[in-house]
């Protein structure tokens, strides 16, 4: 159950990241531990990503968790999402 939930969240996050990257000419495949800024996401992309994550998981990310580190990789976002969802 826990594994299934984890995989599903990662898949959802990956799909969001890919949909943003797909609008660019460059990289589309992105690994869970890959730095998203290196993959080509700009600061405005990051905002779009955060809004999309909030929408997708119906959460509100508190300001103290809105740090570059928490959005550095898909794995980091996954950890963030589960932490916020648990706190809610």
């Amino acid at each position: 159950m826990a594994d299934g939930t984890t995989m599903s969240a990662r898949a959802q996050i990956t799909a969001i990241v890919q949909s943003i990257l797909a609008k660019r000419s460059g990289l589309i495949d992105v690994a869970a531990d890959q730095n998203l800024t290196d993959a080509g996401l700009t600061s405005l992309d990051m905002v779009g990503l955060m809004l999309a994550i909030e929408d997708e998981f119906e959460i509100e990310i508190p300001q103290r968790r809105m740090t570059p580190a928490n959005f550095r990789t898909i794995a980091a976002i996954e950890t963030l999402v589960s932490a916020v969802a648990m706190a809610a």
């Binding site: 996401l41 700009t42 600061s43 405005l44 990051m46 779009g48 809004l51 928490n70």
Partner: protein, 325 residues
């Protein structure tokens, strides 16, 4: 007033995203980023009729999108030719689709959004030329478009609002087409300004001074003087005879002061002006309704003001007549 809670959250997100390579991002990257932000941050659920088409442009077909209020599918309505923001470099019919839908419904008017050419591929004055061309086309085809030509507005936001203001000035000089109203939402009207709100909100308030300078250089870095009125409408020789104006600013917007100065300059010249400063708001808030729900309320206010302005617009009154008088 302090920053709106949701606007602050958006800025927090921007701050968290910082460190991303914006300064060297290509125009294509900047466009994609604004598209991504619009897709995530705006709401396009307002139902209106949409017709995409192309009109003849100087360098090939010029795409436009026509928004028709559902209530008025067959009846003539007032119209607005709309120029999107995005720093002359980014923005599209898609990024401003939500805003155009909201304004179309709230104002009960047809909106013709123009996909004008962007810099740096097409520097000044290509975009402005396209905007003028689109205005002329709409005015000439008003009857078939279902637009009451005596109630035709120009409007835009951010850099697009600067284009709209310039278009209104040029139409005045050219004695046509007649413009009944100019709707300027967080307009950029004095590009080289570096004082007041530009300084106070130059960093960390959605559009940073560095990013803006880069856009400005791409659009007009090797072109006109920065105080050319076609680029900085606040530097026009005179403001007499310009169409009535709705000017909406945001409290925490770097471009706030130049917009409010424009309102004063127009009023001093006898032009009817309705100016609204949205408290707690940031630049571009109006186009991010999902991230900042107040955008919906602001659209309703702008739309209601447009309705009133259109109702009081005198049929047959032209910019040319007012200018000559």
């Amino acid at each position: 007033m302090s920053l709106d809670r949701r606007a602050k959250r958006l800025l927090d997100m921007l701050a968290a995203g910082r460190g991303a390579p914006d300064a060297k991002s290509s125009p294509a990257d900047r466009r994609a980023a604004l598209e991504a932000l619009a897709a995530a941050g705006d709401d396009v659920s307002t139902e209106v009729r949409i017709d995409d088409r192309q009109i003849p442009g100087l360098a090939g077909p010029l795409p436009i999108r026509i928004y028709t209020p559902l209530e008025a599918a067959r009846a003539p309505t007032p119209g607005m030719v709309f120029f999107h923001g995005g720093g002359w470099v980014a923005g599209s019919l898609e990024t401003h689709d939500g805003l155009c839908r909201r304004l179309c419904e709230a104002a009960g008017c047809r909106i013709v959004a123009v996909d004008y050419r962007l810099a740096p591929e097409h520097p000044f004055p290509a975009g402005l030329t396209d905007c003028l061309l689109a205005l002329n086309w709409v005015s000439n085809h008003a009857l078939t478009l279902g637009i009451d030509r005596s109630r035709l507005a120009v409007g835009g936001d951010s850099a697009g609002a600067g284009l709209a203001a310039a278009v209104a000035q040029i139409a005045r000089e050219a004695a046509g087409p007649a413009i009944a109203l100019q709707v300027l939402i967080c307009p950029i009207l004095d590009v080289a300004r570096r004082t007041g709100s530009r300084t106070a909100f130059g960093d960390g308030f959605f559009i940073g001074a560095t990013a803006f300078e880069r856009d400005l250089t791409d659009y007009a870095g090797f072109g006109p003087a920065f105080d050319d009125a076609r680029l900085s409408p606040l530097h026009a020789a005179t403001f007499h005879g310009l169409p009535p104006a709705l000017i909406h600013t945001a409290e925490f917007d770097p471009f706030r002061d130049e917009a409010e100065d424009y309102a004063v300059a127009l009023r001093d010249a006898g032009v009817e002006v309705t100016a609204v400063r949205h408290p707690g708001m940031i630049h571009y808030f109006y186009a991010l309704a999902r991230a900042i729900p107040y955008a919906e309320a602001a659209s309703a206010v702008i739309g209601a003001q447009m309705r009133t302005a259109f109702e009081t617009a005198e049929p047959g009154e032209t910019a040319a007549a007012a200018f000559a008088g």
